[in-house]
């Protein structure tokens, strides 16, 4: 029975797999999980991106090997990644990526027990996140990335899911942006200007032409010559704030 209570916790899911039978099989398995509603299917990465953009699902089931683009490539193209459960048949390359990054994955043919575990784990994490984000914090503007949103970052063979709140710095490198989090700094194919537009300006501040810093991860601030500022981030990076931006920075901080 659908009550408003469990409607609230319904998980909207999209299945992305190039094989119709594989999608059917997964849908069939998901019938045992009434809280999961499969809102769409996609047969390749481009279709997947389209469905994700229009339907904004909470969860995607994603095949790695697909014609055109792989599942990893598809995720890297998304501005923000929904929760992902990878599905793959035996695949050395993909399995290595999973082991390194502890991503959740299901091996086809999917074992119902494993599927239940993966969904359960997801619900637990969802619950934690929901507690962490208070109601008023949830952004009205959906196109804006919230700091609790996660992005998928792929650099060569390595890939990560990163919470925006864990990223301390974006640095412009030609057409790419270098993303600093933990001890990693992979490159993503996105311009700093495009990123700035999508990022929450209350958290991410454009310090100068080449850098966007996370205001929550600043270690200390020192005055710099020419009326500018020098920010030291938690990771030890020192970023100069341009004179023009310093004015803006002080305004924001004084609020």
């Amino acid at each position: 029975m659908i009550t408003p209570q469990n409607l609230l916790h319904m998980i909207k899911a999209v299945i992305i797999d190039d094989e119709r039978l594989a999608r059917n099989e997964l849908k069939k398995l998901l019938q045992d999980f009434p809280e999961i509603e499969v809102v769409a299917e996609a047969a390749n990465a481009n279709e997947g991106i389209e469905k994700i953009d229009t339907l904004n699902p909470d969860l995607i089931f994603l095949d790695i090997q697909m014609p055109g683009k792989t599942g990893f490539d598809m995720l890297a193209e998304l501005d923000k990644a929904p929760d992902v459960i990878f599905t793959t048949a035996y695949d050395d390359y993909a399995l290595k990526a999973f082991e390194v990054n502890a991503l959740d994955y299901l091996l086809k043919p999917v074992e119902p027990k494993r599927l239940a575990d993966a969904i359960h784990k997801l619900q637990m994490e969802e619950g934690k996140d929901r507690e962490a984000i208070s109601e008023d914090e949830i952004p009205v503007n959906r196109s804006l990335l919230h700091e609790h949103d996660q992005v998928f970052v792929k650099d060569g063979e390595r890939c990560w899911f990163v919470k925006l709140s864990d990223i301390r710095l974006f640095e412009s490198v030609g057409n790419y942006a270098k993303v600093y989090f933990g001890t990693n700094k992979p490159l993503i194919l996105k311009s700093l200007n495009a990123l700035e537009e999508r990022l929450d300006e209350k958290v991410f501040f454009r310090a100068n032409r080449k850098h966007i810093v996370n205001l929550r991860l600043i270690e200390k601030i020192e005055p710099y010559f020419n009326g500018g500022l020098l920010i030291e981030l938690k990771g030890g990076e020192k970023i100069e704030v341009s004179r023009r931006q310093t004015v803006k920075f002080k305004e924001m901080m004084s609020l």
Partner: protein
């Protein structure tokens, strides 16, 4: 000997002392060379390369000669076997004895060393041959038994979905999959199979892939019936068709065609696999399928077989295998 003869040269009558002295010499020489041999064996000098062994043997020879000389002079002195007429001092006699021992010990060492050297290198050659044969056998085995696990699990997954949708097709799919698995296991024992047998496996394989890819995969056959009983290396056609799917069809959003041709060309049995797709340079060249195909043909036919893969007019890849035609079959 020289030393003994020298000592007795001035002496007119050859006494029994001469015989005794020769006996002492042989006795001391035997003991010294035996000890030397033990030492050589214990310290593994025979395993050393020539340039390292040479100085060690040289030093060894000098010491052995000296020791044998000492023993000999000592015994002779003790038994008073010297020629009484010529009284040479001890060190001169030791020097003579040592040099004389060298005359025996050096050839003995050389013979000993080279005998073992030749023996060793012959054994080494034999070992290398054995190893090569083993490697060849293992290579053939691993190449043959290679069936892509990705394919197996994907097939099982589609079959599971088919059980509800089309139980009849699910049943035949299981038969097809069993055939492939069985033949991939059996081929480990055989060097060649008939083309017909291999083609049946490929047909089963493509039927299974058709379940997965549905209308994204189109298959065409153009088979000269006379080629059906030609012997070919097992699982070779299969590997190439698998490649055509993996690198060709599965990468095409709208799918494509796989065409298999088998006919005679001059004195060769020609097999061609054509598929939609592109040859992406180095990555495909190094792929397991192509390398293993080349290696197998090389191992089985030497220079008499040929394998070639190339791109045709933009969106087609053609792999061609030429192997000698066998008429007795």
């Amino acid at each position: 000997m020289m030393f003994i003869l020298l000592e007795f040269m001035s002496d007119q009558k050859v006494t029994e002392k001469l015989v005794e002295q020769i006996l002492v010499m042989f006795f001391s020489g035997m003991i010294a060379t035996h000890l030397f041999r033990e030492f050589i064996r214990k310290s593994n000098w025979l395993m050393l390369p020539v340039e390292k062994a040479f100085p060690k043997f040289l030093l060894g020879i000098i010491i052995v000669c000296l020791v044998a000389g000492l023993v000999r002079v000592g015994i002779i002195n003790y038994l008073e076997l010297t020629n009484t007429k010529k009284k040479w001092d001890f060190s001169t006699r030791l020097l003579f004895a040592t040099l004389e021992n060298g005359l025996f010990v050096i050839p003995w060492t050389l013979i000993y060393y080279f005998y073992h050297y030749i023996d060793k290198s012959r054994k080494q050659q034999l070992d290398t041959l054995k190893l090569e044969a083993l490697v060849k056998e293992l290579e053939l085995k691993t190449i043959k038994s290679h069936i892509n696990p990705h394919f197996i699990f994907n097939s099982l997954n589609s079959i599971r979905a088919l059980i509800d949708e089309n139980p009849e097709r699910a049943r035949t799919a299981i038969t097809e999959l069993s055939n492939i698995l069985r033949s991939s296991m059996q081929t480990e024992k055989q060097e060649t199979v008939t083309f017909e047998k291999e083609l049946n496996i490929v047909k089963d394989y493509l039927a299974l892939e058709h379940i997965r890819f549905e209308d994204r995969l189109r298959v065409e056959y153009q088979i000269d019936d006379n080629t059906l009983n030609q012997p070919i290396p097992p699982m070779m056609l299969q590997t190439l068709v698998e490649n055509a799917i993996k690198h060709g069809i599965s990468k095409q959003v709208h799918g494509g065609t796989v065409k298999i041709v088998s006919d005679f060309k001059d004195n060769y049995h020609e097999m061609v696999i054509r598929n939609t797709g592109r040859l992406n340079g180095s990555r495909n060249e190094d792929g397991f399928g192509l390398v293993s195909t080349r290696n197998r043909l090389q191992l089985l036919f030497g220079q008499n077989a040929n394998f070639d893969i190339r791109e045709l007019n933009g969106n087609m890849v053609e792999a061609t295998v030429l192997i000698p035609r066998v008429d007795s079959y």
